[in-house]
Symmetry: C3
Subunit: 271 residues, 3 copies
């Protein structure tokens, strides 16, 4: 399938933002403790309805009424992993798209095992930093913890390989973002150097990718592109006003909430 | 018992705010992961002393030295529910008032079972949004997740029914808040349209209701009215300055902390 | 060992801040739910790399690649305590310094037992408020919850006793901070009255103490002094601009991130 012209992709992204704001999709997050508040606020800022529902007793059931499910292994533990597996499976059965954030999956044996089991449940979209995506493709990454120590450009081939072999969409974020479904790909510029200096910015992005997936009728590629484009523009705007990471954090939420209906076509960050 | 004249109720509310600031009551919260930080900051802003103590091994013991206990099922799980039940029972035995926030209790079977067991332990005050209160009275609510999709006006009868049959105070919050003990009731205006766009605002309110209950010598009705009045005034002030949900969140904490000693009588939002 | 002259101590502190920024040490936190986000942001603001990794299945393994481990019992539970004990032991075996924040350890029997087991694993640094340190030395403290109701001056002897008997460094924070290794001691002035009105400020400090310990090559005393000095200066700067606790919280992160390379020698808060 040929890649759509960039203006058409920007228009499709913008339509998804409008749909998120119109439909306020329920986005269920099984995410880490660090990011819960910020991810919920980012979801509200774009117009979605966050639901942090994680327990084994209810999360799989809830996935059947959710518009999308987001799984993030940042503060993984055995009971949470069990629930993530059941919930991802339930989402799959219900046709609910689910998005995976493989935080620091290469750091420990526990995570390495967990991520393989989660990948086997076929996420619609995987969103990670360069170190995480390189390691996910089996490469040698420089990262040890949650921060990337590799450049996105070095992860593009890994992302394409994973997307093709797993039939998923992979979004790698960093200075220049990269989105691919294994055949098509696009780079997204913009954002702010302050983004990696605010914890949970990446996790919040993964949650917002879920919001876009919820209204995308199966077009996971455009969903990822749309969410990343919004973060790029809002990040640039917040960065222009912020005096440091503390002020960036709230200015970014203001910027996300203030995105005009035509921002993605007027000033598309797609390249 | 006839309803007190509104100026007298505003005066009693104001006296409770002064008492919170003077006594700095210890407010124990078993609340959800999303709201913990914001609820603790809201408690500090009004002058209370937050204690997020939740484990089964100590929460029931801690309830005996707490001024009030707040139970919020937002991110419920089996071990937390067990501890909530033991702690609410311990609070009841110790004469410590406890407040219940039935977040999305109608969303899953697990929650539906949990909320009945908690209600049977007789909370002094229940604080929820319209969808939650309608569902708690057995009605058909439009809400699926944590956001209300019903108007408060439609929940007033449900609130009154619950308050009367359970001998508790019910506070429904939304565009116009409603508080009732089953016989008396009052509406509270003010606030800001940005409040539902900041996650955990409702949970923080429930925590502050706990602070007021801790100093109210058993007058749960005035405690709820006082806490909601403070949120209404602070919300209005923060909303007048905020540029979006990100700036609203911290401006609201500043406004809560800056409430003057006579704000509740000078500009009462009671109707 | 004689106490270094204060200018030399300020210089050594400043060198540690530079090292944190240069090396971005991985700081593993097993901390409470309330503080996770704010502590991670404080670590990023000083230049460290936060990793909130807590599960028994991986936390002890992760401690071997961490630059420092921070254990904070604010929202303790049985599984977390088990993991904290294993991780602290692993850190000890690997030569990774670990820092203990004994939040409200005197409040319940569960905490009193936990803190003794943790202390026996020999933390490099203990950071607490006056009530916590007095109680840790076996004294009668006035505090019940997480807030101190004692003055730091009254905790100096307790801190010195603990440091000497346990061969650790103890940092007591409050209006005037106090750091001791049992033989040497120093007071640190500055900060802001708004600091105790923002939840998790103390927990964030303990995390940053960990960052300094990670680059201190075993000099725990200077690590504690350096981290506390940074908080003191950043707190003073944020306090001069803040309109309340809400604005203080983010201005403090901006101030931490904006500390100039020579701030600790130019305007040393050491006394």
């Amino acid at each position: 399938m040929p890649h759509p012209a960039l203006p058409a992709l920007a228009q499709a992204s913008q339509d998804l933002l409008a749909a998120v704001r119109r439909d306020a999709p329920l986005v269920q997050c099984l995410t880490n403790f660090v990011s819960m508040n910020y991810a919920a606020n980012a979801l509200l800022a774009v117009g979605a309805s966050p639901a942090m529902v994680h327990a084994e007793q209810e999360a799989p059931e809830f996935a059947r009424i959710s518009g999308a499910v987001v799984v993030n292994i940042g503060t993984l533990s055995a009971p949470w992993l069990e629930s993530m597996l059941l919930t991802a499976a339930s989402a799959g059965q219900a046709g609910t798209p689910w998005v995976l954030d493989p935080v620091a999956h290469h750091a420990t044996a526990f995570r390495r095992g967990a991520i393989q089991r989660l990948m086997d449940l076929r996420p619609a979209i995987v969103r990670g930093n360069a170190s995480e995506i390189i390691a996910l493709a089996g490469g040698q990454s420089a990262g040890k913890g949650v921060d990337s120590r590799d450049a996105v450009a070095q992860a593009e081939q890994s992302a394409t390989d994973i997307a093709a072999s797993r039939q998923t969409v992979v979004a790698v974020t960093g200075e220049v973002d990269f989105v691919t479904d294994g055949k098509r790909s696009v780079r997204i510029i913009g954002g702010s150097p302050l983004m990696p200096r605010v914890t949970a910015t990446g996790c919040a992005l993964t949650a917002v990718v879920g919001a876009f997936a919820a209204v995308s009728r199966g077009d996971a590629y455009t969903a990822a592109v749309g969410a990343l484009s919004c973060f790029s523009i809002a990040g640039e705007r917040a960065g222009a006003l912020a005096e440091g990471p503390g002020s960036f954090a709230w200015r970014f939420l203001d910027a996300l909430a203030g995105l005009e209906h035509d921002c993605l076509t007027r000033a598309s960050p797609l390249r």
